[in-house]
Symmetry: C2
Subunit: 396 residues, 2 copies
């Protein structure tokens, strides 16, 4: 099965397709209000899109006075696949061309098994998803991996937590397997794109999306586009130094943010608190389960355990110190906090906010919302669908 999706013939058609993706069905008149095209040129380009099948008629629009305008919508048969490979799990979802999720599946996965085993598992899951949603084909797929990616080629580059993946031609291999256009990106960039498409950063043009999970990373959106940096490693904020003489980090340096916070550091500190008797609540959970997770810290804090609460607040403060520096440097319009650790709740967010608002200069923070992401576990797959739809809805 090989996709033969038509592509827009020019930039006007590409713009119209993205508008229909983002706004849903529109009358020709309403579309005309959004683009600077003469009436005849607009009609010509829409007719061309109707001929390709990328756009279909959708009945008559409500009257705005005068002759009623015809509605058009993007072809409802188009299907995009989003794949979000994390360190320990994978999410897959299929969307329509308006990027509504039609089906979503997730399962545990160990990225350290290497690309061959991982993609075998991912393709099997995609097969189940396709069956459950009666999806016959994909018109494009966007794939996220938890490490830096050389974007044009779609290959991971020296990803620290992905042994065996460096240089693996993910884009090429998956294009073969799926028979449709594929793009590969860092998972945090996809999360930022997802929140921009359908979440709290909807239509945001200059914002940061900080992912707090096992590790810590940051998606950077500049002028509406993801900034990936010259080698695809932009946003690698987990290894920004918080204190020069801080604890040693797995990367070999000292005092990195990830040496203080992130899922791994939190479990390490919580376990130490449980063993030292500083946290009776965590000690009880460690005794019964044999190991602790970030969820245990969250539950202990909710149960009033002050040591667990202190861990969350302290982690938020350290994270806030780094974000404050980024705010001074980058002057974003919005900071989104997302990822698994946001399950730690409002104390984490409050602590980050206190640090950023207190440490950055007022001009940069005067009108700077710091908010939680809205899409949770599906942010990455929505971002993947958005990424590949931008590509498919570009002139060939």
């Amino acid at each position: 099965m090989r996709s033969t999706t038509a592509r827009p013939a020019n930039a006007h058609q590409a713009r119209l397709l993205r508008l229909l993706r983002d706004l849903g069905p529109q009358s020709r008149v309403a579309l005309g209000d959004q683009v600077e095209l003469s009436r005849s040129k607009l009609a010509f380009e829409i007719d061309r899109l109707l001929e390709t099948g990328l756009v279909v008629p959708d009945g008559l629009a409500a009257s705005r006075g005068g002759r009623r305008s015809h509605n058009v919508r993007i072809a409802p048969s188009l299907r995009f696949l989003g794949v979000d490979i994390g360190a320990t799990s994978v999410d897959v979802a299929v969307t329509n061309a308006e990027l509504d999720i039609l089906g979503h599946m997730a399962e545990p996965l160990d990225v350290r098994d290497g690309p061959v085993a991982v993609f075998e598992q991912v393709l099997a899951l995609v097969g189940k998803l396709r069956e459950a949603t009666s999806t016959e084909h994909f018109d494009g797929a966007g794939i996220g991996v938890p490490g830096p990616v050389r974007f044009p080629e779609g290959t991971p580059v020296a990803p620290p937590i992905m042994p065996g993946w460096s240089g693996f031609p993910v884009r090429e291999a998956m294009t073969q397997e799926l028979g449709c256009p594929v793009l590969v990106d860092n998972d945090v960039n996809l999360m930022a794109l997802g929140e921009q498409q359908a979440g709290v950063a909807r239509s945001g043009r200059d914002f940061l999306c900080v992912k707090l999970g096992t590790g810590i990373g940051c998606g950077i959106v500049v002028g509406g586009e993801v900034h990936r940096g010259v080698t695809g490693s932009a946003g690698d904020i987990g290894h920004i130094q918080v204190e020069p003489d801080g604890p040693r980090c797995a990367c070999g340096n000292t005092g990195c943010l990830e040496a203080y916070f992130g899922g791994n550091a939190l479990v390490r500190d919580a376990t130490a608190f449980a063993r030292s008797g500083r946290s009776p609540e965590l000690a009880g959970r460690l005794a019964s389960a044999g190991r602790l997770t970030p969820e245990d810290v969250s539950a202990a804090a909710a149960a009033g355990d002050t040591a667990a609460l202190g861990l969350i607040r302290w982690g938020g403060k350290r994270t806030g110190q780094v974000i404050a520096g980024l705010v001074s440097f980058f002057n974003p319009g919005l900071v989104v906090i997302a990822g698994g650790l946001t399950g730690l709740g409002h104390n984490l967010l409050a602590s980050i906010r206190t640090q950023v608002y207190g440490q950055s200069l007022p001009l940069a923070t005067g009108n700077l919302p710091i908010v939680l992401g809205e899409l949770g576990q599906v942010a990455g797959v929505v971002g993947g669908a958005r990424l590949i739809s931008d590509h498919v809805f570009s002139p060939a």
Copy 2:
């Protein structure tokens, strides 16, 4: 005297004008190699530019075989003004349309005198410059000020070291006074544009330009364009925290980079070293001059004074710590170190490099030149001319 400079009629003409600005006189054939235009369309647009007077004929080109092509060049009568207002000095320069400097003047100035007094002085200096270079008119002016600027309006916003300037309509006032298009920007952004136009970052698309002067700031270029942030304060890295419990900064926080380094901190530390007897060389200079400057630290280090050398190395290390974080976050292709403190010489640069290469991850530093700016004192005025020429060479 009011400028009536023609403007390009469309994006093709704008592109041709910028090419002629950056490449100098070109044959029609060579221009055709640079743009994707049909031969007839190219001829048409060049003829239109010749009619406006923005472009003039420049004789016959050397033969490439076949019929010889006609050279064209940008009108040699065009004049741009660059103004770089610093905390304690001002530079003004006039350039032609290829941004060659035709005349440059500088004098001391105190930005704290407020906008009215400062512009009286600046306009008097511009008058002298105009006389010395026989400049009859300006086709545009780019003006830099040492603080954040709301770029579209061209007004400084809450600039910490510029009392009385907040909200002053610099762009509007200077457009009136000079009778030509004016743009106003932060001085560090102009420095970055200058190095991109004619210096070490020539044609760079993703780089940082760190200015080490009385204070410390950073120009950020993303995809070839200056990133100013949502409120014009991007690049304000002097107040990124180096150590949470560091010395108090003038901004009210603790441990900011400027509390450790920059012209003010350096003079403070050098004076303390002189008084405590740790630096005989600095003590002698303080006794004879009554006060110390960064140049004294530089001279003392050159004379073998280890305390002075230590100040430079320590400042470079602190600066490098902050730059390392920015490199992890932004993944630039080049870091330019510029500003008055680069007079401290190679020890400063070496110390910054050691810190960045040691602290950022290899993927971000594997191919990252950290180099001194090339334009010295004229970087800002060249950047100002570049900024306004981009504007004048845009469709009206």
